[in-house]
Symmetry: C2
Subunit: 514 residues, 2 copies
């Protein structure tokens, strides 16, 4: 290695030599699609965690902070990315807001994105999630796609002629496949398939049969949304490799996906393999089967953890009005649209229950109130119902709420919901669990999305939140499910500050369907 690049393979004499004592060297791992904000860590803290897991490049979409703060949010991520040896390569958020109906903290038009084209570290256009916009030939979206050569997709369940049209428009990849048939169809139509394994989005085992020696060059790994606790406990792309191998994939193919395939997908010809002229990005693993990362090298230099250094934080004032209990009252009765949590998935189901509003919370049937409070314009709160959270008492709230990042809460009593939302507002953004007189919280000082704390402290507090929620009966990873309750681009049904939203109809709908 010299000046950060591989000079050659063979017998050389060098100024510095390493005895790896029989361990294996593999190219640095690449995450093909991630929202760093979803780790709840600021970029440099995130990097500390993933570098120790052998990741040397992440393809990051600052979609969350862009929804909160627009172009300055992207600038913030680009600036913070300079503070770590990890290569954080940015795909620009294509859909801010996620849909024309969403009202977040910013609107990014093609002219706003054009300013970032050609900037160091900016490599393309991220997840084009406004599928109806693509199919209808939306002009501003078309203008955004015309700005870039590399365009990632986001099209859960899209199939047949609509899928053809979406690809024809220029979208090259997808990371939202949840079934093997869906992934196969997309692959056969020329898309790169990014197999996702996030905190609650577990698609790897289902999609793994897609991968063989012929298809591995067109498949990569992505984590999309992975909380700090999972990064610390399970790992990052190394975890994807281990799961894939444990599920029967040859380690060479898993590594192909984790390195060269991801590099090729993004045209990053300077990495993805240990070969002359490529970046000396690699990690040392104990053994190809166990695949425990022992050391990581970036540009030929061993990464030594520099310790915690406080990040710059981008303020994002909360113009939220904490609702009065009377503002989140429900009335009426009939067949209600209830958001059905799907464990291990980002998708939800449109469940129908006969409901009398006076009977909510219905702990017996696990039907609870979900509230979204506008954090930008203090316009008020929308209310829906959710099945699958499992809470027996108390409430959860958070300012991480894809994609608009309003304040989202689920709880048993209206009083606890209001208290939880109040706690998030008091923190200026954060996650909170309340019950009786207990409050557990994690402040998210960076735009209400990321913590300014060290990663081990964030992990500790996440554990406390998780433990408190579990005591109240909650599903595992409740804050990740909570953060997707308002996500209007993934079927089937969601809740926004306006109320219940049907993703397939792409419209606000009444709680009671009849």
């Amino acid at each position: 290695m010299k000046d950060g690049y591989v000079v050659g393979l063979g017998e050389y004499e060098a100024e510095r030599e390493y005895d790896l004592a029989g361990a294996c060297v593999v190219p640095g791992l690449i995450d093909a699609h991630v929202h760093i904000e979803s780790s709840l860590l600021a970029p440099a803290e995130y990097a500390r965690l993933v570098l120790r897991h052998g990741t040397t490049t992440v393809i990051a979409d600052p979609h969350e902070i862009a929804n909160v703060r627009g172009a300055p949010g992207i600038e913030y991520m680009l600036a913070e990315s300079m503070r770590t040896p990890l290569d954080i390569l940015v795909m620009l958020p294509s859909c801010v807001p996620a849909t024309p109906l969403d009202a977040g903290g910013a609107v990014l038009a093609a002219t706003d994105l054009a300013r970032f084209r050609g900037r160091e570290g900016v490599i393309g256009l991220a997840e084009v999630m406004n599928v109806p916009g693509v199919l209808a030939g939306d002009q501003d979206l078309r203008a955004k796609m015309d700005l870039f050569e590399v365009i990632d997709g986001h099209a859960p369940f899209l199939s047949g002629k609509d899928l053809n049209a979406y690809i024809y428009a220029g979208v090259q990849s997808d990371h939202e496949c949840t079934t093997l048939a869906e992934a196969r169809e997309k692959l056969l139509r020329g898309m790169y398939v990014m197999i996702r394994e996030g905190s609650t989005e577990h698609n790897l085992r289902d999609l793994l049969p897609l991968v063989n020696a012929c298809t591995a060059p067109r498949c990569c790994f992505a984590t999309d949304d992975r909380h700090a606790d999972m990064l610390a406990g399970k790992g990052h792309i190394d975890d994807c490799v281990r799961i894939a191998v444990a599920s029967g994939l040859e380690v060479e193919l898993a590594l192909r996906m984790a390195t060269l395939s991801a590099a090729e997908r993004f045209g990053l010809h300077d990495r993805g393999a240990l070969a002359p002229g490529r970046l000396a990005d690699f990690c040392v693993v104990d053994d190809l089967d166990r695949f425990r990362v022992l050391r990581t090298f970036k540009r030929g230099i061993e990464v030594i953890d520099p310790g915690y250094r406080p990040p710059a934080c981008l303020a994002a004032p909360l113009h939220a009005r904490v609702p009065e209990p009377r503002e989140i009252l429900l009335s009426g009765r009939g067949e209600a649209r209830v958001i059905g949590i799907v464990p291990g998935q980002i998708t939800t189901r449109d469940l129908r229950f006969p409901v009398d509003a006076a009977g909510i919370p219905d702990i017996g049937r696990d039907i609870l109130k979900a509230v979204v409070t506008d954090r930008y314009r203090a316009s008020g709160s929308g209310v829906g119902l959710v099945h699958g959270f499992g809470l027996q008492e108390g409430a959860l709230a958070g300012s991480v709420s894809h994609d608009s990042h309003n304040i989202v809460a689920v709880g048993v009593t209206d009083a606890d919901i209001v208290r939880a939302v109040g706690e998030v507002v008091r923190l200026g953004g954060g996650l909170a669990v309340v019950s009786n007189s207990d409050v557990t919280a994690l402040p998210l000082d960076c735009a209400g999305l990321m913590s300014a704390l060290p990663h081990d402290e964030v992990v500790r507090r996440l554990a406390a939140l998780e433990e408190h929620a579990r005591r109240l009966g909650a599903i595992a990873n409740p804050f990740m499910y909570l953060s997707f309750l308002a996500l209007t681009v993934i079927p089937e049904v969601r809740v926004t500050e306006r109320g219940v939203f049907d993703v397939r109809a792409f419209a606000d709908v009444p709680l009671f369907s009849e």
Copy 2:
């Protein structure tokens, strides 16, 4: 299909529908590296031939005409390429002349190539054959390589640290592998391996064990130098697919190499697969095993042979002095360096024979005189000896003589050699066989490299030349071997207008080694 692109796969209604009666549709075939000049046809005639074999894109290096005519030669090829639906994408010749020692019709410096950068149809830098120049950090060569992202190599037998350095310098591919071990080493160091099957360069069967599902994405087919008769008789990339399949490769992998792998290698994301948004370039084959191309479509339109249309021709005056017999006399005796033809290969061997000049021609040992006459400066002729041509009488000469394209001849008597050279000069460039009073010839009006005749007429005349040469005892394909006798960049030994040349020592050497 619409406007030349694939809209989708599935059930559509269209203005025009084709019933293919059970035949198969495969993506248009791609030749990853070819010198169109080596077909002896002008570009549009070449295109007529290969389009009917299912080729829709060729990556062409106008290295031959550039050696004769420099930048105007490249302009000529670019202009003629517009006259055919075949996509002729140009890699610019990196080494004109091939080595600093060669004196051809032009010298192309980095500044000359820079003028072509960004031109429509120009996609990179072709075969960097000046390996010593790369390894020594030659500044002009470095400047050429810095002009382009896509850089093809040409490094026969290069291995170990020198290969590392060559790749480190930025060379991404090689099409000169002749052994499996060589191809494997290059592949493992990150190079794309182009497996060549030309008129006399038969590497496919030797290298095929390299290809499997894991490696196929990094391997392509190339023909490099294929005469019109082979294109007409055997075919083009379809022939490579048939040979590969007959040799045991799965047809899917052979097709991968012939389509998507080649497209990916050159970053041509608009082709290489039949998928939405890609070019509607494809061919119809009778059956995947027989693989006979029945019809070819380019940009959604069936290619109907337009018939012969006379090409524009680029004149290239021959400033050659036909040698007097006394100018090609040899004298002396001792161990002589004799160029050993290697059947089926572009390489030659450095054979040593005890020779008395007075005993040449030595028909018993098949040692004949090889003469190269300067066509640019009338400086005279160089003489060497060659083993393996098999001629019993008469002589062959031609103005196709890689890379400088001087006039090269091999013959039994000095008088016949002089007559053959004289015939080539009289034609203003061409190929000729002479014996007794018989002369068979093919004029090459376009720069002495390509014929202005229709391809079937060129094939007919090539057959007559071949038949005449065979009657004289010559090896099959004698003009292709003849054209490589002066090629100073492929080991081991060659002859130039200065005399014998040792490629490994990279120097002119005496005929007698002691």
